[in-house]
């Protein structure tokens, strides 16, 4: 199964995060229109893979969104749109949707679904990972990457966009590092800090 399910540490409401990556997606425009129409059957975080650099980044945004949901602090309509906002280092919601969300031209797509298994607002049994996967694979027309992996996510990264979005151009901490791997590591660290600092 190309779906990766993670039970985060210190997760409120028994939240599980499901992740899948698709290549050559052909129905991005349709998915995008369903989000705009607020169709509840399409309540997923559809993320353009080019602005994502690691699985950790996705989980970090998911955790922030889950915590916001559990503390009634959502700034967007639902936990999945909150994931998109949580990827951004600034509070402009439209900007976040445009940069990290699906666009009609998206080819490589990350689908992130959060299921609360122990939520006071949605009682009762929740869909299992297999059920989540069968729904996602029907919604998205594309080639799933099996298995989902951090390495696969990293292949899609557009670093020029990431540096711009997280304001990493001309940062002193990055200019003094000669080693490429170390610089990349530091860049990811700063981008993640930027995400965490949004709204302060």
């Amino acid at each position: 199964m190309a779906l990766k399910t993670t039970a985060l540490e210190n997760r409120p409401w028994g939240a599980l995060v499901h992740l899948a990556l698709f290549h050559d997606v052909t129905n991005s425009a349709f998915l995008h229109s369903q989000l705009l129409a607020k169709n509840p059957d399409y309540e997923y975080a559809f993320i353009d893979a080019s602005s994502i650099f690691s699985e950790h980044q996705l989980l970090s945004a998911a955790y922030r969104a889950i915590n916001a949901a559990a503390t009634s602090a959502l700034q967007t309509p639902n936990v999945h749109s909150e994931v998109i906002l949580s990827l951004s280092p600034n509070n402009n919601i439209a900007d976040a949707y445009r940069r990290w969300g699906i666009s009609p031209r998206t080819k490589s797509l990350i689908v992130l679904k959060i299921i609360f298994h122990d939520s006071p607002s949605v009682p009762g049994p929740q869909p299992s990972a297999a059920e989540v996967w069968s729904t996602i694979s029907q919604l998205v027309s594309g080639t799933p990457v099996d298995p989902f992996s951090d390495a696969a996510v990293r292949k899609e990264t557009n670093w020029a966009a990431v540096r711009k979005y997280y304001k990493l151009n001309g940062v002193a901490a990055l200019q003094n590092i000669a080693d490429d791997a170390a610089r990349q590591c530091q860049m990811e660290r700063l981008a993640l800090m930027g995400m965490a600092l949004r709204g302060l």
Binding site: Y63, R64, T71, A173, N176, G194, A196, L200
Partner: protein, 268 residues
């Protein structure tokens, strides 16, 4: 925040946990330190392999709830902003993973290693009271090398326009070097990168006065926790003086501060 180590384990929490840490995780949170303003827990972030430090400022029952919420939020967010500023300028500080200022907690990178205080004490404890190192070799010892590393890190901090406000050898960690690192401590307890922690009292300031007081507080901390290392403090200042353009004038100011103490005003 002044931090005292406690012996409390996770099995019997001495204090109520912040609600975020009552959620399921692979291992229970461990209370590491307890200070006047907050508590520090060791737990994990996102995945079981990634350790993190959660700093929690509990609500103060004696304060009006509205005021309390506002103060807690302002202090946490200013600490987070200082960390961001340092990280962007390449000052060695822990990364910020997540923050919920309204709930009073933030998750920080877990820094491996021991505090500088412990390293210096172990180093001095293993050596005789009277130093027999010949004078011409003193500035080659691992202790002096550590002092210089501390001075360089403090210079980097002050260059970015941040003063720490509570510099002691307990608020600096020695993060062990990865294999293959050369130079420095030569495989002793004083090995490692100096990483500054606990920015709870940090402020943004560029004035010589504030920077000099920061150095003075550290000097006093050295004198009280490591009297035998105090003689080496000059190496901290020597390295500090080479780090940025205005550092020499800070050192001049330090002489004034020494004369009168930390408080500028003689009133109150």
């Amino acid at each position: 925040m002044t931090v005292n180590p406690t012996t409390a384990g996770a099995s019997e929490p001495q204090f109520p946990l912040p609600s975020i840490l009552t959620n399921p995780a692979s291992a229970p949170p461990l209370l590491i330190a307890q200070g006047a303003e907050g508590r520090l827990y060791k737990t994990t972030y996102l995945v079981p392999e990634l350790a993190c430090a959660v700093k929690y400022r509990p609500p103060k029952p004696y304060r009006h709830p509205l005021l309390d919420a506002r103060l807690t939020k302002a202090r946490l967010s200013s600490e987070a902003k200082v960390l961001d500023r340092c990280a962007r300028d390449g000052v060695p500080v822990p990364a910020l993973y997540a923050i919920d200022a309204a709930a009073g907690w933030m998750a920080l990178e877990w820094i491996e290693g021991a505090p500088v205080r412990q390293g210096i004490n172990e180093w001095l404890g293993a050596r005789p009271e009277t130093d027999t190192t010949p004078d011409e070799q003193v500035d080659q010892t691992p202790l002096v090398d550590l002092m210089r590393r501390i001075g360089t890190v403090m210079g980097a901090l002050h260059r970015t326009g941040v003063v720490h406000g509570d510099l002691t050898t307990s608020n600096m960690m020695l993060r062990p070097w990865k294999d293959g690192h050369t130079g420095g401590g030569n495989g002793t307890v004083l090995d490692g990168d100096v990483v500054l922690i606990d920015f709870g009292l940090a402020t943004q300031s560029q004035s010589d006065e504030d920077r000099a007081v920061d150095l003075y507080v550290l000097e006093r901390a050295f004198a009280s926790t490591h009297p035998r290392a105090e003689a080496h403090f000059e190496y901290v200042l020597e390295a500090y003086g080479k780090t940025f353009k205005k550092a020499p004038s800070v050192l001049v100011k330090l002489a004034d501060v020494r004369m009168r103490g930390r408080k500028r005003s003689m009133l109150g």
